[in-house]
Symmetry: C2
């Protein structure tokens, strides 16, 4: 599955070279009219290039996942795996396990609240603000000043934009800072769970089938957004009313056919298609393997240190599943890079680009390119040390709150982004989430293990103060005692951190709590490293902009369109329903069907379909959702759409803008597509017919079916 | 792979119920004219029902594998895996590894001799002799007499039939003794290796791809049979001349298309399709699991106890690979039985049969059926003990030779079958083979391990004298010492056993060699058990005949044809080239192609294609063997043919009797078809186009291509 919580792990690099197809920005659709038509698109092109026309206006973000309105009463369709944490885990406990039972709200009153901070974002505005962000800069501005100016400009822009707490504004970087756009979103705050199937449908196949095909996962769920009675945006209140979503997608009971045109509009998180060859090579030869090692150990640590009895297993369920998912993904990328001979082919293309640079670029631009490659090499050297620094969630939380106290001494406009008034709510919600996703005992065990690796790294690459305070150059026993000391803190859960958040800087400085002391004593060093990092970032922004400039020229010289790497902003990908053969002699068919579910059923998780489901399938009770070519109800289907993490939950729509599926995964064999578009790559969507069949036959959810506009 | 040496492991049961398709006896083809035509057969039906017409007359047996003449000079095509032992292993040593290099005889002089005893059998006669075999018997004859009479009748028939040492006669039981047929075969004795590809072609994919699809194995090889100048059959002599094979198959460079009619004529070894439900149930619930355990341990023992340095690894290569193959097969059968719900469906069918019996059978026949089921139950109880008895090849060899000495005291006609004059040659060859397939150290280690299990079996199920002599009720140390004592024998290799074979019974009885002593002291007990076993066998023969009588009536009542289980006699199976889907969403395509080879290539065995092969593929040098639908040269293809072990090496032929492939394997998912015909089962053949392409492009074997009659 393409899981939303994976963003945290994604590597820093971000760019894309020489792609043929892609995740287009909406405005680019106007330039791709011919290609769109060739794919079978019959609608008006302006509908898919204008964010504020239907169907684009029905598309929303959950922050990490995509989703779409499917009724005019704020009903939202997304993936099951996008709502597991904030809706299912949050509403489950020893007595009620929503993973096991699933959930159907038969009336609006029965709908369930979300975890604190769960949001739905509706895009209100998107505009190019490169000039404003870079205002006051020249190419010769010193990096440290450059960082400060960009930060100040951004803050200013955001401040002007965020006219109320109903909206959130973000400055988004495209092409690593070559372009900046301002995104203004409406921030819906009262979101409720309407429908989730039982896990035996929603995550049928679990980790085993994750990233795999043939697939039989019913990865669908429904939420509803609420506002105050006057339409203003409010947190949960039982008097709130459903959000008026005038633009929404109809849901097709007819579904798609082989070769049909399909499109996904969503919020892909991160790709690395316009990075330099040096970055690709390092990732493939070193980075991926280091990541796999790190994740594998992390999974082991969570297995060894959590248990059912004290609830720690449930608390780390989400994180562990994220690690496993990412582990499988990166392992697949390693294999894919080998199979598709990525290094070899990208080397050839890079050399061609260098030849172009040699012939066409100014000496100045050549120097910039060399400087960029130098900077990249320096960063790579330090990356392993960075990975093993700071693996204690407890300490990180304390440092964030100490920093927050420091920042709150200043007036709001002077504060660091992330610590302004607008950020306080997010910080509170993060603390609240600790109550169901953090256990100091487990955190300490993970920290200890990671630190044993960090201590063995060349001291010149380690942080001196941090290392000294943790006694990393002393005996293992001494180190472990020091950690025990820090973890003897009285601040180790949601409640106590909430308390710490209210403490003033003075109070913190006067505390003798070992955790607060450690946060205080490492503060100056952290600030120093942050500054250095910002300086490097500013340098990188300039140098990458120059690189992108060259790349655009290069693309123009061969008459190709370049698109920016995915960055969490709205993108369009279009293609067709299509089978694929990735191994000689073997074909992945376009559709899977109901009968594949009992085929995989073993009675053991993750293949533990219920008797009710198996009986319905056995009876061939297909209802209105029968699809003749498979002689059954289709469950999942393949298409040539180009998606990545963050696209999860995206409505897969047809030429008439009807929802025909929900995109939820890619295939392990081609997941290296994050680095390079691969024609054989396929998106797996859950079929709208399976979604409707489940609501109808299994759940008898007439209220929901009546609310949806089902087309035939 | 369907390996010939697997016969030794096959369980004792043998029958088949309610099959829809099958391995037909040639005479049955006349009754299947309509079905044959519907499958697309265009030839004369008498050609495929008459053993002595072309193409049937071109089909030969290697004893465990099938093969076919492909020129009028005795050239024979078969599978690579059928010639590994007697041709490649025999001709390989530390300096020359024919597995690595492959072998092409550029002239007849260069052809390589076979291991002692390698034979090619040409069928000369086949006739129903049930009456003669059962002559002098009534249903009331006592079992012990029954056994003796049948044995004597068989000996008499064989004696009359074997008019020279050029021929061999066999009495073959069909339907477990309900029918007997006499098979007279010409025994070609000078067989030479003409062509074998390197192992990276002949067993590309090795154990990993064994029983799997998509497949890319070049499982083909060529032998040549020789006779004396006057046409008489002689052992190897450099003056011998190629056998005149007037009936031979042309080889098609055009190959087959999707849906084409294909046929295999060959010698399937053993199926279990007409056994009682009690036997199926026991096999599936107990027997298979016991076998898997036994084989797994056997593989471990060979891994632990053999090494490169002393040559033991090479010596056990064949046996270990046989174990691995069979282990994979039985494991696949366990899974297949579950997936296809075999027990459930066969139970229903069995109950229907019992209903028929209840309504239609005489009381006498009902009693016979009950007696059969009782006998089966008794046998099953003892089967585990039998498996762990006698796992020393050294001791078995000594016992065989001691027995031979005992038998040789009698006149030939009085001797036990297997110890007559006609059997002496085979015995000698078996001893010769020990030189490259036996190591007393390894044998002893395996024996010790197996005996530790045998000793723990309920003493009432163990052999008392054998157990006493091996001190199985004493301490482990005492047992192991006793084994060491036996293995301190001076007879432990090919040469010394040859010597033992020449010793008279007196000499053996006077020997104080611990191995001979052990053989002598267990002799009476062995004879007693043999007699008991023969008595049971005779009982079973009668009861099974009665059961088959009922079964035939039952089949007749629903107008179906019954065919006997495979028993190593010539059978015909016909069908079509066809893809298959065994899992929802996944299709195994009909053909694999050259490009699949580099896809699987890792450089490590068993995926270690040579640069030469990879370059040829990379150059798309397809020559005359291009097949448009795959845009390449096909490598392997699937068909609905119904084959099993022993069919390996069978020519897959088209309606014009041209060789279009060589059948070499089935698919793990449907390998349970040995117990019940499964419509989704597929035969994997190596495509004639890949065979010819390899000879042409890779080997430049012009002499061979010229000798073959290649059609276009």
């Amino acid at each position: 599955m393409i899981k939303k919580y994976l963003f945290v792990f994604v590597l820093f690099f971000s760019f894309n070279m020489f792609a043929d197809e892609g995740m287009w920005e909406p405005y680019q659709m106007e330039l791709l009219q011919k290609e769109l038509r060739a794919s079978g698109y019959k609608g008006n092109v302006s509908n898919v290039s204008d964010l504020f026309k239907h169907p684009m206006s029905a598309i929303v973000s959950l922050g990490g996942c995509s989703a779409a309105f499917v009724s005019n009463q704020g009903l939202i369709a997304t993936n099951y795996h996008c709502i597991e944490g904030s809706y299912l885990q949050f509403n489950s406990n020893a007595e009620t396990d929503l993973f096991e039972t699933g959930f159907v709200a038969r009336t609006k009153d029965a709908e369930k609240r979300s975890a604190p901070g769960a949001r739905v974002y509706v895009t209100l505005e998107s505009s190019n603000i490169t000039k404003q962000v870079l205002d006051g800069l020249t190419d010769d501005t010193k990096a440290i000043d450059r960082a400060k100016i960009i930060e100040d400009n951004k803050k200013e822009i955001i401040k002007k934009c965020e006219t109320s707490d109903e909206v959130e504004c973000r400055v988004r970087s495209f092409f690593s800072g070559e372009t900046y756009k301002l995104e203004k979103v409406l921030k819906l705050k009262d979101i409720r769970l309407v429908y989730a199937p039982p896990a035996y449908i929603g995550e049928y196949g679990g980790e085993i089938d994750n990233w795999m095909y043939p697939r039989h996962t019913g990865d669908f769920a429904l939420l509803r957004a609420y506002t105050a009675k006057d339409g203003s945006i409010k947190e949960y209140n039982e008097d709130n009313i459903p959000y008026k979503s005038d633009s929404f997608l109809k849901v097709s009971a007819k579904g798609v056919n082989e070769d049909d045109f399909v499109m996904v509009v969503g919020y892909p998180g991160r790709t690395n298609r316009t990075i330099t060859f040096n970055e690709i090579e390092w990732d493939l030869k070193i980075g991926f393997h280091e990541t796999v090692k790190f994740l594998k150990r992390g999974i082991e640590l969570m297995e060894e240190n959590t248990n059912q009895a004290d609830g720690s297993k449930l608390k780390y369920r989400g994180l562990k599943s994220g690690y496993e998912n990412y582990y499988k993904k990166i392992s697949g990328q390693i294999d894919g890079a080998n199979n598709f001979k990525l290094i070899e082919s990208e080397k050839i293309k890079w050399d061609e680009f260098l030849q172009f640079v040699k012939n066409e670029a100014s000496d100045e631009d050549k120097n910039y390119l060399n400087a960029l490659l130098d900077l990249i090499n320096q960063d790579q050297e330090k990356s392993i040390a960075r990975r093993y620094y700071g693996n204690s969630s407890l300490i990180s939380q304390a440092k964030t709150l100490y920093r927050n106290a420091v920042e709150r001494e200043k007036i709001d406009a002077e504060r660091k982004p992330g610590y302004q008034d607008r950020d306080q709510e997010r910080m509170i919600n993060r603390i609240k989430r600790l109550s169901y996703s953090f256990d100091p005992r487990v955190d300490q065990a993970i920290f200890k293990d990671r630190l044993m690796i960090y201590k063995d790294i060349d001291p010149s690459l380690r942080r001196p103060v941090y290392s000294k305070l943790l006694k990393l150059d002393e005996s293992e026993e001494t180190i472990l005692n020091k950690i025990d000391d820090i973890y003897s803190t009285q601040f180790k859960n949601s409640e106590s951190f909430s308390e710490m958040m209210t403490m003033s800087l003075d109070e913190l400085n006067n505390s003798d709590d070992p955790l607060i002391l450690f946060a205080k004593e490492t503060f100056d060093e952290s600030m120093k490293y942050e500054e250095e990092s910002e300086e490097r970032g500013a340098k990188r922004q300039l140098l990458k902009s120059k690189f992108i400039g060259l790349l655009k020229k290069y693309y123009k010289s061969s008459n190709k369109q370049l698109y920016a790497d995915a960055n969490g902003t709205l993108r369009v990908t279009y293609g067709n329903v299509k089978a694929v053969s990735l191994k000689d002699g073997l074909t992945y068919e376009s559709f899977t069907k109901l009968e594949g579910i009992p085929q995989k059923h073993t009675g053991e998780e993750p293949f533990n379909a219920s008797d009710k489901l198996l009986n319905l399938i056995n009876k061939k009770d297909y209802g209105d959702y029968y699809y003749e070519p498979v002689n059954s109800v289709p469950v999942n289907f393949l298409s040539t759409l180009d998606i990545t993490n963050g696209n999860s939950g995206s409505a897969t729509i047809n030429s008439d803008f009807e929802l025909v599926g929900l995109a939820f995964d890619g295939m392990l064999e081609t997941i290296i597509a994050d680095y390079k578009y691969i024609p054989e790559a396929r998106t797996i969507s859950v079929d709208s017919r399976y979604f409707l069949w489940t609501l109808d036959k299994l759940e008898n959810a007439d209220n929901i079916l009546e609310e949806l506009s089902v087309t035939n």
